[in-house]
């Protein structure tokens, strides 16, 4: 293509020369301009998060120019008839002002709010992609933790921004926050004063949340996005398995021009979609709710979607868990749903890469992604956590679901209480079985090929169905992965009967490893394929025989890494 490109215009060449002489930018351009990135639609999800954040900053700057973060009380005299003469804070008044009297103000508010919802949704979806494909494995564990922290910061950004208009809905949200904070043992009351600068609601919380929302949290997010992307460039992007893709290369298209156009263009696509949502879909019409007043509240009020799980947990927990010790009140009925349950879910998520690495004992670098079916316990764990998350989200909508389906809200709440424990267990089991089933299907395909739908009758009257063997690339996709096997436990005593040091630690690790890898289907080996082909010559005998061999029964096999026998030999492929 280069012969088609005209030499750069003089002005461009002169600028490039000027910059290079002062910064040596040429070296960076040479290094990065044609950097290779692999292509897959799911890699765009993280980009949506990034672009939503950029759009949040752009629209946020617009909003800060008109928003007044003050809780001073004023009487409304603006154009909105319904609010005429109503007493409200300057925060609420300025929200009405920028929505109704500033051209484009409502559009920017709505784009901002939609972008916040999409920001969190794309972060969660991106995390799911990374989780289910095992992209968090070495060397990317640190980046997983960076990304996890970004998700928490996203929650903080959303929460602090949601409360700023000082409307009755978000005000009740703050009141719930106050109630949750007060339940913290020993320091709860003081934490409440710390947040509100005195008694709830006080006159401090809106200005404070404003500072948190426009300075503290965005600055941290920006810094961590920098770290996140730096690590992506440093590690080079992961790639899905396929022919020619290994842990030692990266196959894809160059940054310039393909990703400048695709990823750069995608920013505009995301902006366009968000602008359309802001134009067409009303969100958070605070003029319908009215300014904050401690007395009114409406039924059917839900927080933004990313906070639903917390609200749902608060609804599900029965009240009996509150008790007093030596005259002090311990509100476990609030602490468990608001702190302990999310704490467990989030810790499990943040620590998963380390738990899995502990179970595999694997020290290799991984750059080729796993197909989710090839890591059944990981996939099942992820689905299980998501199920709990979804049950909590549904629980927070119990006052909408119940009247809709003419159900008793108490029965519904009880159903969710049970489902919160039962459903994650069921989905764990089902997902694991489905993953194993898909692996069996892969073996079946590799061993016997595609069903051609053609039946042939032999001269002696026998009917067989012709199977079309897989081509090399189809086959490689199904056999390329390396099966993980449970770590083998060495005996507790050595040959002289001396108790081995660290046996109990090893035993625990062996148990964790067995939980992950005891049930597994291993990929077809060349030997099995050869054996299967021998059978195919006598199709009437061989049918349905080979697949049974795929399932390796419980118990460590000699092939797995061994514990207590020194460091595992470095894997190398």
């Amino acid at each position: 293509m280069s012969q088609q490109t005209a030499p750069a215009p003089r002005a461009v060449a002169a600028t490039a020369d000027y910059l290079d002489q002062r910064t040596g930018v040429g070296k960076a351009v040479k290094e990065f301009a044609r950097k290779i990135f692999p292509d897959h639609w799911s890699f765009l999800i993280g980009e949506i998060a990034l672009y939503s954040f950029v759009i949040l900053i752009l629209t946020g700057i617009f909003l800060t120019l008109f928003f007044v973060p003050s809780m001073d009380q004023v009487t409304y005299t603006g154009p909105l008839a319904a609010m005429d003469g109503v007493e409200m804070s300057k925060a609420f008044e300025s929200t009405l002002h920028l929505s109704f009297e500033v051209t484009g103000g409502l559009l920017m508010r709505q784009i901002h709010h939609w972008a916040a919802l999409i920001f969190m949704a794309s972060i969660v979806t991106h995390m799911m992609r990374v989780f289910f494909t095992g992209a968090f494995r070495k060397p990317r564990e640190i980046n997983w933790v960076v990304g996890f922290t970004l998700m928490i910061l996203g929650l903080a950004a959303g929460f602090s921004g949601y409360s700023l208009p000082d409307d009755v809905l978000s005000g009740n949200g703050l009141r719930i926050t106050d109630g949750v904070v007060k339940s913290i043992p020993i320091i709860g009351s003081y934490m409440s004063y710390f947040l509100f600068g005195g008694e709830f609601p006080g006159t401090q919380i809106i200005p404070r949340l404003f500072t948190v929302h426009i300075l503290l949290v965005p600055a941290l997010i920006l810094a961590l996005i920098g770290a996140h992307l730096f690590l992506v460039v440093l590690h080079k992007h992961t790639q899905f398995p396929g022919s020619g893709r290994t842990d030692r290369n990266v196959v894809g298209y160059p940054l310039f021009p393909v990703y400048v156009a695709k990823a750069g263009g995608f920013f505009f696509v995301v902006f366009g979609v968000l602008a359309l949502m802001g134009a067409l879909l009303t969100i958070n019409p605070v003029w319908n709710y009215g300014p904050y007043d401690p007395s009114p509240v409406s039924a059917g009020s839900q927080p933004d979607w990313y906070m639903l799980f917390l609200d749902g947990a608060l609804r599900l927990m029965p009240g009996f868990a509150e008790f007093t010790v030596a005259g002090f009140t311990v509100s476990l009925n609030v602490l468990i749903p608001a702190m302990i349950v999310p704490g467990l879910l989030f810790s499990g998520l943040a620590l998963f890469p380390f738990i899995e690495a502990y179970a595999t004992g694997d020290k290799r670098e991984h750059h080729v992604l796993d197909r989710p079916r090839n890591a059944p316990v990981r996939t099942a764990s992820g689905v299980s956590i998501l199920t709990a998350f979804v049950v909590l989200i549904l629980a927070s909508s119990n006052d909408i679901i119940a009247p809709h389906f003419a159900m008793s809200i108490n029965d519904l709440t009880w159903a969710f209480r049970v489902l919160l424990f039962v459903l994650p267990a069921i989905t764990f089991w089902a997902t694991k079985r489905i993953a194993l089933g898909l692996q069996r299907k892969d073996r079946e395909l590799v061993l016997h090929g595609h069903e051609a739908g053609r039946i042939i009758r032999f001269a002696h009257g026998e009917y067989v169905e012709v199977h079309q063997p897989l081509d090399d690339h189809e086959q490689w996709l199904r056999v390329q992965h390396r099966p993980e096997r449970p770590i083998q436990l060495l005996p507790a005593e050595d040959s002289n009967g001396v108790v081995r040091k660290g046996y109990r630690k090893d035993a625990l690790r062996s148990r964790v490893s067995s939980f992950f890898f005891e049930d597994r289907i291993e990929p077809v080996t060349p030997a099995e394929l050869a054996q299967s082909h021998e059978h195919e010559e006598h199709p009437a005998i061989g049918a349905g025989h080979d697949e049974a061999k795929g399932l390796v029964d419980a118990g460590p096999t000699p092939g797995g890494g061994a514990l207590g026998g020194g460091p595992n030999a470095p894997h190398d492929d």
Binding site: P79, D178, V251, V273, A279, E322, G327, N333, T557, A569
Partner: protein, 342 residues
Amino acid sequence: MSNEHPGTDVSTAAEGNRLPERFADPGLPEHKARLTDTDPRAAKRAELQIVLLFGISIVGTILAIVAYAVIRPGETVESIRTSTLVLGVGLAMAMGGIGLAAVHWAKTLMNDHEKVEYRHPQASNAAERAAALQVLKDGADDSGIGRRGVLKGAVISALVLAPLGFVVPLIGGVGGDWNVSKFRHTLWTKGKRLTHDPSGKPIKASDITIGSAVHVIPEGLKDSEDWIEEKAKAVVLVIRLDPRDLTEATDRKDWSYQGIVAYSKICTHVGCPVALYEQQTHHLLCPCHQSTFDIADGAKVVFGPAKRPLPQLPITVDAEGYLVAQSDFLEPIGPSYWERLK
């Protein structure tokens, strides 16, 4: 592909012959040409489509600017909606047009031959690590920190303590007066009239019919300097029941007046206003988390995440027949906290 998993159950069949343990990577698949690679007319068509998409973007920008100049937000929700709609659609076209054009360009016209780059292990090699260690060791030797234990202790102590000069004023200042005992008191005092929320009109006992619920604030609430904080604690729900339906604890017999009871409206769970009263069952439901209180039986919890009954405000009537408080609440209202009973 090294062979570090010898002899598993599945591969025992391989024993004895020379087949490899694993399949070999067949290498990158052949490049598949797109229609635009082979048909110049298709390429020309794609180019036109891209130009058109950029054109849509330009039209969108013009639309947005015209909308800004022509459609001013008016006085009503409807007029602001029109302005938002046209401006937003213009902006969406302006942005989306560029985006779709660029992506379409990349997918149809840009070189789509995959390229391969090699990765290098993240870890530094042994020589680099040794050099790094040596550098650090040299630096430490130059500083002499290893030989001067007292100095080391002093550095660490000073660094650990120094932030306190910043953190203590920061934390100390943000909590206001830190007087958390304010949770215990509300505006209610002996003889203070119960008034309608938000009008502030006093309430005659005879005006409340059986089965009705009235939202109540203390008289003179708006005169209070921190009226929002006071309102957040003092709001009360007054309900009149048929006295025969009412179950009252013996020590609370005189807290009600002819079947009229007053309970704090602030939920004992996490503090939402408890506002949904069901006349038939005498149940009061918190719309936030569905804690349900039985008004006929001391506002005890019958369902949901709250543990404690709503605090009751002892009431009576004054000489003119208006409802008045006998005293403040006898326990802190609202959600539980650690030193609540102290």
